[in-house]
Structures are given as C-alpha cells and as structure tokens.
Subunit: 274 residues, 2 copies
C-alpha cells in the first residue's frame, strides 16, 4: 500500500452533484445484480427464477433480466429451469483478495476498530512461548508503543499471549508456560505457574483477556482470539491503552464489545481462506 | 444437488425476444461494473480513477460513476484518490463456493489425506479450458501465500485439468483443448493436440492422472476425479509433490491408493447431500 493521508477522504467529493444517488437507476440495478449473486448459498446452490425473485425481493421480470444478463456474461449457468453460479464468480475480486496474506484482510477491520476506540490495535500469533506481532494499526497519538511487525514478547504476561495459550489444549498451554523463565516485567507481573494456568483457564472460559500493567507500568491491554472455521485459535487481536486515560473497567465496558465484534468479523473473512 | 440433465440447456429459450441483448444498456452497464471489479488485482491493488478507466476501456465519467456506485455499496473504498476493493467483495465469491456441494464436505477428508502424505492437496473445477482452485489444504498450516482459491491454471498441462477434461464427452474435451493456445511451461510440457487427446483418453480409462513436471520443473502432481451420484465428474482432487523427494513412481505407489480413497470418500459424502 502506498502511504495515504491519515483521514479517509471521501473520493472526489468536489462535485457531489455527480455522485450516484441511492435512488439512481444505475446504482439500484447494479446493487440488485450483486444481490442476485449473493442469493446463492449452501442452502440455495441452484435456484429457479421464482426462488431468486423471492430471495432478493425483485419482481420475476427483474430477476429474470438480471439472471439472463449474468448468464450472458458467464457468471451464471442454467440447466433447465435451474440457475447456478459458475467459478467465474471467483474472478470478481475473490481470487485476488484471497491470494493476499491473511492480514491484508484483517487490516481494514482493525483500522475501523482503531478509528472507533482511538487506541492502537495489534494482531499476533504464538510461536513457542512467545507471541509474534503480525499486524499493527497505531493510533496517531504522540505516545505510542513502538512494537513493529515481527516483534516478540513473552506470552505469559501479555493479553494476546494468554489468549493464544488459552487456544491450546490445557496441558500444552501449561507446558509452554513452564518452558521458559518468567521474570517480572513490573511489580504486578504474575509469574507463578499455577496462577498463570488459572488465568489462562479463565481466559479460555470467558473468551477474552485483560492484562493490567503486567508488561509495562501504565499499559492496559485487552485481547480476544481470532478463530478459523474449525474453531481453532489462529491469532489474537488486542487493543492497548493507558491506565490513567482508560482504566481497566472502562476498557472492558467500552472496548470489549467492539474488540469481540472485530475478531468475529476477521474470523468470518478468514473462512474464505485456505 | 438435484438431478439435472447432462447437457446444459439454455435457460428459458422459449421467448428469446425477452433475452437481454449484448447491446442492451442494462447488460452493458452491469458488465462494465463487473469489469471495474475485475480490474483490481495483485498488480493493481489500488487504482486511481484514470487507471481504472484505462484498464477497463471506460471513459473517466463512466469509470467514476461505477466506482462511486461500488463505493456506495461498500465493495470499494477510497482513500484520497486511490480506490481499492473491500473484503465485502469476498461475499460474492463465497456465494459461489458455499453453493458448491463439495466445499464443506471435502475439507476434512483432504486434511486427513494431507496428514497422511505430508504433501499439499487441492480441489479444482473446470471453467472453459482452465481449472479453478476451489479448495486447498497446504501441508503446513502456517499462513502463506501460494495458489489461493480462485487461482486459475490451464487445464491441458495439469493433472487436475486432464482429469476434468476426461470427465467431459470426448468431443467436448477435444474442443476445449483446441480452444486455447498451448504454450510449453517446461521442456516437458505436452502441447500437441492429438497427444493431449490421447493423454486425456488414458486418464478417462485409468481413472486418474499423473503429470510429471509439465507445469513446473520439479513439480509432480497426481489427480483423481470426484464424481456425483450420476457418475458425472464435478471436481478434481490432487496431491502435488517434489520430484526429487517423491519421484513419480513413488507417488503412484504410495499416494495413488490414498488419493483414490479420498476422492471416493468425498463422492460418498456428496451422495447424502440433497
């Protein structure tokens, strides 16, 4: 990605008069065409004209016009009265987007989250007893934590680390915790094995983790797992903030729902990846 | 899947007068909208209005109208003068993939196969003279960029392509082979039409296909068909390996029985689908 201005500028806002309106015939037609494509699913792999009309809320004539257009363009094929999508549909951005590293998909979701919470957001994966940052979307605040992609931190004293450990079978999580010397990073750092095992267990049960100044004085971090379609935790997503600006209770109340939604959004995008 | 007639019957041919014509404004507009989506790629992940117009052959005004429509619908986002696709685009491809009966069923079988053979496994369908990847289980589940879902390869020089061609009536397979220029990808690539027809015939007879370094030096690939309950080939399944690690003879001896079993297992699972 080229460097872009920090604030998303609406495209070509100069001449708003030229902008297509929602009521615009062309916009409507195009939206309907895409809606017809989206009306096919596991429940409706093939559909008749009537079924497409019912699912999309189009008239039969409208649905017919779109289906035949899609057929003419090779995106739909008909066998008798049944229509179905063709693999050409994958040329519509899917082949390209799905070839991107996973994190390119996560990035827009994380950018939205950062815009909402005004705090930095990161994603990390587990490697042994350490987490490795794979993506980071900073806020544009002056004070920011300088952890680049590929940076590592011990799993035991970070919210993403505990979330990633919670995604492992309990015995495996315990073994990884035990495999490394655990030094206190602050006066609050929990280092005792059984206490950590309990914290990981709590994280597993509640589906998220908050770590309050165990890595760095003043730093509070909230993390949630990103799961693949089999339910396996493949990464963790976090928001970190300053304790004096956003106390732990406020983080849980205000940020947790947004963080959980973002991790679900990313998980859904990942379903389409191998 | 409902039972469908083997030969694709044009939809609703009764009243051809109602069929959208290529010159039809709506058809043209819709085709142009889809062309704009397709103009984004790994080479052009973000584009300005001018670049989109150039790539699609549209006027700037036309390209602008479509980009703003796509932006309004959430399929494109603008940052300054740069446009890019959003992950929402994946919904279109997902509509196709989830409508494939084998998509969810095949994956666990493929994962078992990968665990046994320690090589990557893919599934593909045919589109014209090309195969399109619809599912891929890599050996190492680490996120990596390789052949993603929606990637295309020519059918003539790939094991899955020859298996898929062998699933067509012989004259149709020949026509598809003949429809495209066939360039050698390696020094071993068979490009001559009659030789390829014979190879497809052999594939049909034996029920599987091995391609030895015709697509890429060092790459050996073994494929088998996945058939529906009417016996029609609906997809191909393959294992690919490195020639120096797993010579062709070893692939046939060790992997072929497992591959054939996996494709039968998937076919059997498909029978229980509606």
């Amino acid at each position: 990605m080229p460097d872009l201005p920090p604030s998303p500028a609406p495209a070509a806002q100069a001449d708003a008069a030229e902008r297509p309106k929602p009521g615009d015939t062309y916009v409507q037609s195009f939206a309907r065409g895409l809606a017809v494509i989206r009306s096919f699913s596991a429940e409706a792999p093939t559909q008749t004209l009537t079924e497409v009309a019912t699912r999309t809320g189009l008239t039969r004539a409208g649905a017919r016009r779109i289906l035949l257009t899609l057929e003419g363009l090779g995106y739909v094929e008909a066998q008798g009265r049944q229509f179905r999508l063709t693999p050409k549909i994958l040329d519509l951005g899917f082949a390209y987007l799905s070839s991107l590293p996973l994190w390119n998909l996560a990035e827009p979701v994380m950018e939205t989250l950062v815009a909402e919470v005004k705090e930095s957001c990161s994603a990390a994966v587990l490697d042994g007893a350490e987490l490795v940052y794979v993506l980071r979307v900073p806020t544009h605040k002056i004070m920011r934590i300088n952890l680049g992609i590929g940076s590592r931190l011990p799993a035991f004293c970070t919210s993403m680390g505990r979330v990633l450990l919670a995604g492992l079978p309990p015995e495996e999580a315990r073994a990884r915790l035990a495999s490394r010397e655990r030094l206190p990073w602050t006066s609050r750092t929990v280092v005792e094995l059984e206490a950590l095992v309990a914290l990981v267990e709590e994280t597993r049960r509640q589906g998220w983790c908050l770590v309050n100044q165990e890595l760095e004085e003043g730093l509070v971090s909230l993390a949630a797992p990103i799961v693949d379609r089999t339910g396996r935790t493949i990464a963790a997503l976090n928001i970190s903030g300053q304790a004096n600006r956003t106390p732990p209770a406020v983080m849980v109340e205000r940020f947790l729902p947004l963080l959980l939604q973002a991790s679900r959004d990313i998980a859904r995008l990942l379903q389409f990846k191998t």
